[in-house]
Amino acid sequence: MTSGAAFGSPAQGSGRAGLHAEIAFSRGDFTLEAVLDVPEKSVLAVLGPNGSGKTTVLRLLAGLLALERGRLEVTDTGGATECWDDPATGLFTPAEDRACALVFQDYRLFPHLSVLDNVAFPARARGLRRGESRQQAEVLLDRLGLTALAGRRPPQLSGGQAQRVALARALACEPRVLLLDEPLAALDARTRLEVRSELRNRLHDFAGVALLVTHDPLEAMVLADRICVLEHGRVVQFGTPAEVARRPLTEYVARLVGLNLYSGGLGGQSRVTLDGGGTLVTAGGEESTGGEQSTAPLHEGGRVLVALPPSAITLHPQAPLTASARNTWQGEVTGLELLTDRVRVAVSGAPDALVDITPAALAELELVVGQQVWLTAKATEVIAYPEPAGRDER
């Protein structure tokens, strides 16, 4: 579902209502290859670092860029399929003819038009008269609770208001595909929280396909049903928010969701020999998270990934006497970072680890950089899952 394997085979819609996109695009050194399937009435978040190709995906879907290879298709509930871009046949539907709306990161509201006329713009573009299009816009603004803003000009709006108006204007297109580019990135922290929960409801109510790109994992997890992680123009992970949070497949995702991630080989007695040195014992079979990610059983000698939450590791000044925890190793403190309610300790050892402790524990342990410490972790906290094939190909 997520690999580029579908390339070369005759492109064909899944038949399910929604968006089916096989994307291949390059510019300079950068190449983007991804297959995205987003069913109707669902929200997909494309999560990735800067330069991963997220915004390019949106621009390709919106028709502001053309595919090099691949195919874009939208299938409605009746099963009728509309093709938007197909380089093989030369078919390309320009942006203005796609039932697709894009909420830009910087909103791009028309500064010379009132909020009402901004929201009426799509109807005007479809050829409706001014009065009629304003009427429709009024209805929509009323439904979204934005009537009070109707007479204002965009420069007079706060960030949160501008975001809401931009979404209203996009919804006024009655799109089948709604695209959002970093919808909350331009907002301050407090507004973001408020707008996020509202946006979540709007997306939940939206009847078509919604796709948002973000570099913020929290945003992706709160807003989306599925997360697609994009790195260097490739899809590296696809799954439900719970799967991505529990079983990250790459360093980038692990860092985003705040887990230590190791790769290694599974030996006997649930003992994993880590590639970077050291071993970790897991409690064995990891229960299925009930998602779509492969849950093939672990087998001895197989390659696995091991995730370990920083909060599940305990630090000791000396070698612990009682070995209630199955994993014990030694390391050196290389960094201390104060997070809001805890202290993140970077420890180099076999393996390296990030450890979260309370400020009280920090004071008690009198930790300084360069200090030798012992680390312990319960086997039940060590989560092992199969490493996807071809993970390190890059």
Binding site: E96, C100, L102, R108, F110, P111, H112, F121, A125, A172
Partner: protein
Amino acid sequence: MTSTTARTRAQVAPNRAPWPIAVPAVVAVLFLLVPLIGLVLLAPWSQLPQILTEAQAVAALRLSLITATLTTAISMLLGVPLAWVLARSRSRAVRWLRALVTLPLVLPPVVGGVALLLAYGRNGIAGRWLYQVTGYQIPFTPLAVVLAQTFVAMPFLVVTVEGALRSMDTGLEEAAATLGSRRFATFRRVTLPLITPSIAAGAVLCWARALGEFGATITFAGNLPGRTQAMPSAVYRAFETDPPAAAALSLVLLAVSVAVLLLLRDRWLRPGATL
């Protein structure tokens, strides 16, 4: 004690011009201002109403106002689309086109007049054809005045509007496309309203330049009182026969220029302003 402090303060005051800069700057200001002051002081103020109501002066003023306004209208109608092409087209040929189009900005106007004559004169490449088909000839008609002015003044509008289009956020045009707007509708509903201030500025500039046009006009349209004699030509003619009248007419043109400057003050009179 206090005087020492004061002197120190004055010495460290920022941006105080050293004399090698200050002296030439003052000379430059005087050089520019003295003629204008002279014009204002020596103008025949008492005879002004009489001179300016003379039939010939009224005709020149009327012709100037009408032709400059027509020139501005034509320049906007043709110049704004041209500016759009120059600003938006990615073709390499456009770079040459831009150089060609802005050539009249630096070309001596009298050369423009000669060129117009060679093109649209009775024996000109286009004029000959026009004359054969319709029997009409353009040179030395009021239409020739408009054409000469347009040739010289339209590039000012084109350059101003093109600059505005280039510095405009094209993201808004992109947004309009994603909202279903076709390109011409986007131009009409989004682009034009956003560059209106620049079109207005370009139009005022164009109008002022047309009003002052002399070299191309006198070459292509001549200096026939009541027919092709616009204000600058009238000043030129009056200066040979009646210098006070020339000063009076000049005063009118000076007043117009000051008015233009005031109209465009937000654009030009703020620090760092460019054309």
